[in-house]
Every structure is written in structure tokens, then in C-alpha cells.
């Protein structure tokens, strides 16, 4: 079995037209493609950095606000400068890109431009045909980011082609890197919370680097929309290495290749490695006992239902820190006291923090950051 095609899609800077790309993304994932969606209003630097870290086969750019000849050319140029010639660029812009423009863009190294009236099927076929072939021999990586990205691809591909079984043995302790696992139900705000923590890290450590391994579910029998980067505005930074993974049929919130990828990241000199699971259910316990995750954070939504539901959440016994996010919601006070009682029963000195991650400079997030950086 071949590895799914991974591509990155984005809308250029100063352009909010995401209607077309949303539709195209859905069509791609329906046909088995894994799409890392970077969102709209994205700079050339953000796009190229993400493409290299995610080690995608191609970048699809949807541009409706003009300036496309320059923008596409800059993307191709920066990819080449960073030694990522193997990442191809394609795109479209309805009627705003003329045949003449397209010719100029192709001349500058863009693979293909789709015009108005191109069917979704044509685009999907194009991507599968041109970016679905096995990779050739890879050139030497030009940067640590690129080298790491290539390694992670190797690991993922090995699992996808079933050449490898997950390594289950406990890893030796890794020094100088703290690995933090974030889990919790979908919609609790894990992604926003992590991004806010990253912002604090970047502000307080002028040189340190941080890695994020983020997960989104694969659609059964289909591809996956990996969209965390679109909301993680602070994490699109040269000091943040981020990799988005699809679960590829594995239950429990992580991918078959996660453990090995995480091990690799943990040995790559980052101050922190953050791993975020997909939204999990009550019985989930995604992180291995005695694994390399140093600290686990369970992010809860105050609207978990009745107190009885709390008893069923396994991670409440295991997490080192429990966060009640969206603590501006009415039910948050009740949630706090119910969870507090539940944690008291455990007698494990677990910490409970209330946050409003969507709020800028939220004191709760400050508190969580302090807790994490102390441990």
C-alpha cells in the first residue's frame, strides 16, 4: 500500500477568498489526499516554511486578489533557495488569472494553473497523477528543518507501506527536551491553547526552539484535512517546527507512526516538543505509560455534561494537569468544582487550571505556561 499523497493548500497574503479552496480541499480528501491547510492571508515565508516542515509533494495556491504572478514566483523562488525543488507548485484563481499570466507563471516554475470551469475531478486527477508517484532519491537536506522533515516522512512512509511495526519499548529519558502531551475532547480549544503557549515561549526565550506534532483524524477510507496550522497563527515561526499527521485508520487519537516520529523530534534539540492528539473520547488514554511524554495535559470543555460523565473520563486519572478552557462560559464554575473534587479523589497532586485561550494575554494561560515551564 502506498503512502497517501500529502499536499499543502493556502490562500496568499491579503486575500481572504477561501470559498474555492474549501470546496477543493473537501474534494481532495474525498479522494484519499491528505491536505495540510494553511488558511488565507498567508505570506510566502509561512507557506514555504510549512511546506518544507510538512514535507509535502506540492503546494496548491488559490489566489483571487491579484498580484498572483509575483506571489507564485516568490513561492517557487523561496522553495528553490531553501533546497526544496522537489516541492511543486500549482494553483488557480478563477477568472482573475489570465492565460497570459498563467504562461508567465509556468515560465517561472509553476506546474499548472487551473482556470474557471475546471471540474473538481480534473484537479483531483491532476494531483493524483503528478504528485502520487513514489519519490525519487532525495537530495541532501539544506537545513535542519528539512532534514528532520525528510526523516519524519521516512518513518510515516514505512508505516504506511507496512514495512514497520510500531516500536513499543520504553525509551530512555531524553535530556534537555521536555515532551508535553495535550489531549481532550474535540472543540475544547487544544489547538488555540497550544498556540497561546507557543507565543509565550517565543516571547520569553529569544533563541529556543519548539516542535509541535499535531494530529487530525483521517476520514474512513479517505484522506484527511489537517487544518491546525490555519488557526495556529503564532506557531508559524522560524523557531517552531510543526508537523501535522493524519491518524490513518488508528483509533485512540494518534497515528501508527506517532511514537517513532515523537522519539525523533525529542532527540532533535528542541526545548519543548508538544504533541496534540485528535479530539478524544472518554475512554482514550493516548500516551504510553512510561513513554517519552514527560507531562500530560487534559484540556476540557466546561460543557461535558453531568457529573456522572466525569467519572468515565480515563484521562482525568492520568493527566498531570487538567485545564478547563472556555472558563468564561456560564457552566465553568460548576465544572471547576466538579473536576476539582474528582481530582482530589485521585490524591496525585494533579493541577487544575482555568483558561480562556481565545482571550489575548489570558492570565489562566500565563499560569499554565508557568506550570509547564517549571516542571
Amino acid at each position: 500500500m502506498a503512502s497517501p499523497i500529502r499536499i499543502l493548500t493556502a490562500v496568499p497574503i491579503c486575500d481572504g477568498h477561501d470559498s474555492a479552496i474549501n470546496t477543493i480541499n473537501l474534494e481532495f480528501i474525498r479522494h484519499g489526499i491528505e491536505v495540510i491547510y494553511l488558511g488565507y492571508h498567508r505570506s510566502v515565508g509561512d507557506i514555504v516554511r510549512a511546506a518544507i516542515q510538512e514535507d509535502v509533494r506540492a503546494i496548491g495556491i488559490s489566489s483571487y486578489n491579484g498580484g498572483h504572478v509575483e506571489f507564485f514566483a516568490e513561492v517557487v523562488g523561496l522553495l528553490r533557495k531553501r533546497g526544496a525543488n522537489d516541492i511543486k507548485v500549482f494553483g488557480g484563481g478563477g477568472g482573475t488569472i489570465t492565460q497570459e499570466d498563467a504562461a508567465a507563471m509556468k515560465h517561472k516554475g509553476v506546474d499548472n494553473i487551473f482556470f474557471a470551469g475546471t471540474s473538481l475531478a480534473e484537479m483531483t486527477d491532476y494531483v493524483r497523477k503528478h504528485y502520487g508517484r513514489p519519490r525519487g532519491k532525495r537530495l541532501r537536506a539544506k537545513s535542519p528543518d528539512q532534514e528532520l522533515a525528510h526523516k519524519l516522512t521516512e518513518i510515516e512512509d514505512a508505516y504506511a507501506t507496512r514495512r514497520k511495526r510500531p516500536t513499543r519499548n520504553a525509551q530512555s529519558k531524553i535530556r534537555n527536551t521536555k515532551v508535553i502531551g495535550f489531549t481532550g475532547p474535540g472543540g475544547a480549544g487544544k489547538t488555540t491553547l497550544i498556540d497561546e503557549l507557543v507565543l509565550r515561549f517565543l516571547n520569553q526565550n529569544p533563541k529556543g526552539k519548539i516542535a509541535i506534532l499535531s494530529h487530525d483524524p483521517s476520514v474512513i477510507g479517505e484522506g484527511a484535512l489537517l487544518g491546525d496550522r490555519a488557526t495556529m497563527i503564532n506557531s508559524q515561526n522560524d523557531r517552531v517546527f510543526m508537523r501535522s499527521m493524519a491518524t490513518r485508520g488508528q483509533a485512540g487519537g494518534l497515528s501508527p507512526a506517532t511514537h517513532d516520529c515523537l522519539t525523533r523530534l525529542a532527540r532533535s534539540g528542541f526545548a519543548y516538543v508538544i504533541i496534540e492528539t485528535v479530539g478524544t473520547g472518554q475512554e482514550a488514554m493516548p500516551f504510553q505509560k512510561n513513554g517519552i511524554v514527560d507531562e500530560t495535559v487534559l484540556v476540557m470543555n466546561p460543557d461535558y455534561g453531568s457529573r456522572l460523565q466525569l467519572q468515565k473520563i480515563v484521562m482525568l486519572d492520568l493527566a498531570d494537569i487538567v485545564v478547563v478552557n472556555k472558563s468564561d462560559l456560564q457552566r465553568a464554575r460548576t465544572a471547576h468544582s466538579e473536576i476539582e473534587q474528582r481530582l482530589d479523589q485521585n490524591r496525585r497532586n494533579q493541577r487544575l487550571v482555568d483558561t480562556v485561550a481565545k482571550r489575548h494575554r489570558d492570565p489562566g494561560v500565563d499560569e499554565l505556561f508557568a506550570l509547564i515551564s517549571k516542571g
Partner: protein, 602 residues
């Protein structure tokens, strides 16, 4: 229950009230006779006009009913144009030609000649054309071209991408975007150039600015520019509109630069200022257009626009601004495409707004009006055989005027490729003039096309569907909660996806695209309007000079601005000071340091 839940109840209650009046008119003899008497008096007083061939027509057409119950249903359920609940129009005469002679309708239906009426000052043309390209001086030139033959100067300004996102022309990676799709504005000096030669304080001038994320900053720059040219006394005279619609940006257009709460706070700061200091300004244009263009259904467009409007009204009222002061300064902006719903979408919206504002906000008559600008649908225009777009736009214009819009923009046929060129802009503008001035469809008689059985059917279906959407938003906790849960966004995205599917599977015919295609793809010969690199460089250079010149003053102004925002006071007066010496990007950047950046929703 949120305010929107109350609005739903008020509409249901009002509809029941209408039914009760119908019953009463039929059972209560005196009430019924009074209604019939009023009805007949009213009809007798309707002036008569003549077509160019000499046929007499009433200036207001009313249904041919004489039964008290039906009269009650009409008067209470629809209202005459200009009367509550305003189904048929916000004003009495809208685009009718000024009266040349007054005739009164005799009982037998024949007209008899009357005395010439005294001359009535012509109203403003409802035509308002959207424009913005390259640098401020280029757009200025276009403005002068567009208004050369107009009695009134109503300019509508499109900004380029960097301006819409509140960043400067010298920001990283935006060079190719300078002046593309709209005009580049970085500083108050650009704003002076943009409207050069126009008398900003004149009652015949109004400026409309299509910008939302950084709207308070751009508004401050406009005021600063006006003061530079005409002195401080011009401020209360300024007329115009700024879009400033944060909700629709988050739901559809994605040009938001601060998180939701501070965005709404800066907006309310601006509205508080303009309501008190600039009584002739419309500080927000509550817009469904971009919701429609992003792919919503017509009903979603109307429902989200109305519910956003009610949410703003709630917010402004909570700030302590009296509803009868801000209410008349709210205006609306809808898309008009080719779907059947558009036959009555704006009519129904006008009625729901009036009832909701009266019964849930205690608004007086002026604050009940859903003052509407319509633009024909850009999404309905396609590149293939693009001249067909003239027909599409013409059909949409008819629908827009059937809905008695207060003003209208007709799209240029070349819009699928580029910023419209002069040739196609002219045709678009002429399309409106042909409908309103040349054709007899709208100039002789109000209600000329209103009230057909089909239109009534659409009204009922659309109103029911809008109220269902309101109930869903209410169930999610009101507009703000639904926005934060991305409800409207995902609904719009689903609708857009369905629309595309329908085009591809052919259930939605698009002529020359999926039906009657002429074989080969024709390449339209359109002269493209692109900003030359030299101009883009000029903009960057000008900005550098401005920043250098004002460096010290800018720092002080930004510090003061940040302080005011931290303290939670109304920041608009401080924005006015900052706009004199700071660039757009400098102000945005400093505000983002204090309140954060907008986190996109996928």
C-alpha cells in the same frame, strides 16, 4: 432568551396581529366600514402621471380589493410604500420621476388634467459605482470620470488587499498586491489625494468606504484628511458610509484583524463618536453581500444580515447610545443574484427589521427603516463568453429595483477577470439608467411589479425560512455565540459546496459554462488593469518619507493610543490624533500588541 429570540416572537406576534385585524375587519362592521372608507379616500388621492405616449397611470398602484378583510391584510401586513411595516418600500416614491403635472383620479377611473405642480428638487441618483485602483491619484481620476455627468457625487471606494488587512505597503511580501483590486491607502496624505477636488462637506457629496477590519482607523484618516483640507468645522457635515461590519467578516469575508471582542469594541467606539459628532454619517453597513458571494443561500444571506444587525443594535444600545440616534444611521447591503428568492428577499428583510426594531428595541419610525444598497451578484458572473454577464446583471437589476432598493451598484461584465475597465463600467452604469430612466418599468408607478401571486408565495417561503435560521442561532445562544462556534461559516461553506456540485452535475445551469457551451474556450479580449511596478514603488517610497518625517510624533501618538485602549476608554478620539502622524500599519500593529491578532476560523 437572546434578543434574536425576542425578534422571532415579535414577528410571530405581528403576523397574528395582522390575522386578527383581518378577522375584525370582517366581523366588526364599524371597523370594516372605516377601513373601506380610508382605502377609498387613499385611492382617490393618488396622483396620476402620463407615459410618454399619453396613457394615464397612478403614481401608486394598489391591489384591486374592496373587501374589508383583504384591505386590512394589505394595510397592516404590507403597508403602503413608506409605511410600517415597509414591505413595499422604505419611502413613498423612491425612483419615480419628479411630478410634471398633478392629476387626480376621478371616480370612474379616467384622469382629468390638473394644474402643473411646482418644481420638485430631483432626488439623488440611486446609482453608486464601486471603484478603486492603483494609487490614490489614479482612483481620484476614476472618481472624477464616473461623476462627470452626475448631479450628485456619490463615491464608493474599494481598497487594496494590504489596506483591507490593516498593513502597510512596505510590509513583507505584499509588494505585488499594492493597488491591486482597490486603492492603496497607507496614510492621511493618501486619503487627501484620494478625494482631491471633491467638496467633502457639500450636501451633494458622499463617500462610501468598503472596509471593515481596520475601519475605525480608516475612518479616522478620512476625518483627518477632511480637516486638513477644510478645517475642523467640516466634521459634522461629512456624509457617507463606512462598512465596518465585523460579523460578516468573520462569517464570510475573512478580513478581520483583531479578535472578535476588541473588533466589536473599536467599532462601538467609532459608532459612539460618529453618532454624536457626525450626524450625517452611516458608521456601519450591515452586509449580506459578502455572505452571498462566499456562497450562502439567499435565505442564509438575509437571515445572517438581519441577525447581525440586531446584534449590533443590542451592542450599541448597551453602550448607552439611544436607539433613535443610532438606528437611523444603520444601513444594509445585500447581494442580488438570479435565484427565485431574490424576487422578495429585500422586501421581507425590510419588514422583519421594522417589526423587530419597533417591538424589541422601541425604535421610532426613522430607526425602523431597513435602508438598503444592493449590488448585483459578482459570483453569478463567469469568464466563459463573458458578454453574457450583461444579461445576468440586467436581470439582477430588475430584481433589485422590484425590491425597491434605495441604491444600487451594477457589476461590470469584465469583473471575473479584473478591476473593471472604463468601457464595461460605463455599460454597467448605463444598464441602470436604461432601466430607471429609459424604460417605463420603475419611473411612473410605485408597486409596478409588486404583489404578484408568485411574489407573495416567495415572501411567505422566505420569511418562514429566515425565522427558522433565527431560531437555530437563538438555540446556539445568540449571534455572538453562534459566530464563535463557526455556525454561520460552516453553513455558508456547505451551501457553497452544494452550489459547486450543482454546477458540476448540471442541475444548476450556467449558460456557456455547463450548458450551450461553444466548444473551444474563448479567450476574452479584455484590457487588464494592473498596477505597474513603478507605481507600487512610488507608494512604498511615499510611505517611507511619511514615516521618517513623523517618527517622533508617531511614537508618542501610539503610546497614548495604547494607554487609552489598556484603560478601556473610547479610543476613537485618540485614533483621530494618531491618524495625523501614523501609518495604517503602525496603528494596527500597536493595537494588535495590546489586544491580539484575529485567529482565523477554518
Amino acid at each position: 432568551m437572546s434578543k434574536l429570540g425576542q425578534v422571532v416572537e415579535s414577528i410571530e406576534k405581528y403576523n397574528k396581529f395582522v390575522l386578527d385585524q383581518v378577522k375584525r375587519a370582517r366581523s366588526d362592521g364599524q371597523f370594516g366600514r372605516d377601513l373601506v372608507g380610508r382605502w377609498n379616500d387613499m385611492k382617490a388621492k393618488i396622483p396620476v402621471t402620463r407615459t410618454p405616449t399619453g396613457i394615464p397611470l397612478p403614481r401608486l398602484a394598489l391591489p384591486e380589493i374592496d373587501e374589508p378583510g383583504e384591505i386590512a391584510r394589505y394595510l397592516f401586513g404590507e403597508g403602503l410604500p413608506g409605511e410600517f411595516p415597509y414591505l413595499n418600500g422604505a419611502y413613498r416614491e423612491m425612483y419615480l420621476e419628479p411630478i410634471r403635472e398633478v392629476e387626480s383620479l376621478a371616480k370612474n377611473g379616467h384622469a382629468k388634467n390638473g394644474k402643473p405642480a411646482k418644481k420638485i428638487a430631483p432626488a439623488e441618483e440611486p446609482t453608486r459605482l464601486f471603484s478603486g485602483l492603483m494609487l490614490a491619484e489614479d482612483t481620484n481620476e476614476r472618481f472624477h470620470f464616473l461623476t462627470a455627468h452626475q448631479r450628485t457625487q456619490r463615491l464608493s471606494t474599494a481598497f487594496d488587499g494590504p489596506t483591507l488587512y490593516g498593513i502597510d505597503s512596505d510590509a513583507d511580501g505584499v509588494f505585488g498586491k499594492i493597488g491591486e483590486g482597490g486603492v492603496a491607502i497607507d496614510t492621511v496624505e493618501d486619503m487627501v489625494r484620494l478625494y482631491d477636488g471633491f467638496d467633502l462637506g457639500s450636501p451633494n457629496f458622499s463617500a462610501s468606504m468598503t472596509i471593515s477590519g481596520p475601519a475605525p482607523i480608516i475612518m479616522a484618516m478620512y476625518i483627518a484628511a477632511a480637516k486638513r483640507r477644510f478645517g475642523p468645522s467640516v466634521v459634522p457635515k461629512l456624509r457617507g458610509t463606512i462598512q465596518a461590519d465585523i460579523f460578516k467578516e468573520i462569517q464570510a469575508q475573512n478580513e478581520t484583524i483583531f479578535p472578535i471582542e476588541p473588533s466589536l469594541r473599536f467599532l462601538t467606539d467609532m459608532v459612539e463618536f460618529t453618532t454624536h459628532q457626525m450626524p450625517r454619517w452611516y458608521p456601519i453597513s450591515i452586509s449580506g453581500y459578502h455572505i452571498g458571494e462566499a456562497g450562502s443561500t439567499p435565505v442564509q444571506q438575509a437571515a445572517y444580515t438581519l441577525s447581525n444587525g440586531f446584534a449590533y443594535a443590542e451592542m450599541f444600545a448597551a453602550r448607552g447610545i439611544p436607539v433613535d440616534q443610532f438606528g437611523p444611521r444603520l444601513s444594509f447591503f445585500l447581494d442580488c443574484g438570479l435565484d427565485a428568492e431574490y424576487i422578495a428577499l429585500a422586501r421581507v428583510s425590510r419588514r422583519i427589521w421594522a417589526i423587530g426594531m419597533r417591538d424589541c428595541f422601541g425604535a421610532g419610525p426613522k430607526a425602523q427603516l431597513y435602508k438598503l444598497h444592493i449590488q448585483t451578484s459578482g459570483r453569478s458572473l463567469i469568464a466563459a463568453e463573458f458578454k453574457n454577464n450583461l444579461t445576468r446583471t440586467a436581470a439582477e437589476l430588475v430584481l433589485a429595483y422590484m425590491n425597491a432598493t434605495n441604491s444600487c451598484h451594477s457589476n461590470s461584465a469584465d469583473e471575473p477577470f479584473t478591476t473593471p475597465s472604463e468601457e464595461w463600467i460605463r455599460l454597467a452604469a448605463h444598464g441602470q439608467a436604461i432601466l430607471l430612466e429609459e424604460s417605463g418599468m420603475f419611473k411612473h408607478t410605485m408597486n409596478m411589479l409588486s404583489g404578484s401571486p408568485g411574489m407573495k408565495a416567495v415572501e411567505r417561503a422566505v420569511e418562514a425560512a429566515i425565522l427558522d435560521e433565527f431560531r437555530e442561532i437563538e438555540r446556539l445562544g445568540g449571534v455572538l455565540a453562534a459566530v464563535e462556534e463557526r455556525y454561520q461559516r460552516s453553513q455558508i461553506q456547505n451551501a457553497a459546496h452544494r452550489y459547486e456540485q450543482q454546477i458540476y452535475d448540471g442541475t444548476r445551469p450556467i449558460i456557456a459554462l455547463n450548458k450551450y457551451r461553444n466548444g473551444g474556450d474563448d479567450v476574452p479580449e479584455v484590457k487588464l488593469v494592473r498596477t505597474p511596478r513603478k507605481k507600487q514603488q512610488l507608494q512604498v517610497d511615499r510611505l517611507a518619507t511619511f514615516k521618517k518625517k513623523n517618527a517622533d510624533k508617531a511614537k508618542r501618538a501610539l503610546d497614548k493610543l495604547a494607554d487609552v485602549v489598556e484603560r478601556g476608554e473610547n479610543c476613537f478620539p485618540m485614533l483621530l490624533e494618531a491618524a495625523e502622524v501614523c501609518s495604517l500599519g503602525q496603528i494596527t500593529g500597536r493595537l494588535q500588541e495590546v489586544v491580539g491578532r484575529f485567529r482565523p476560523m477554518v
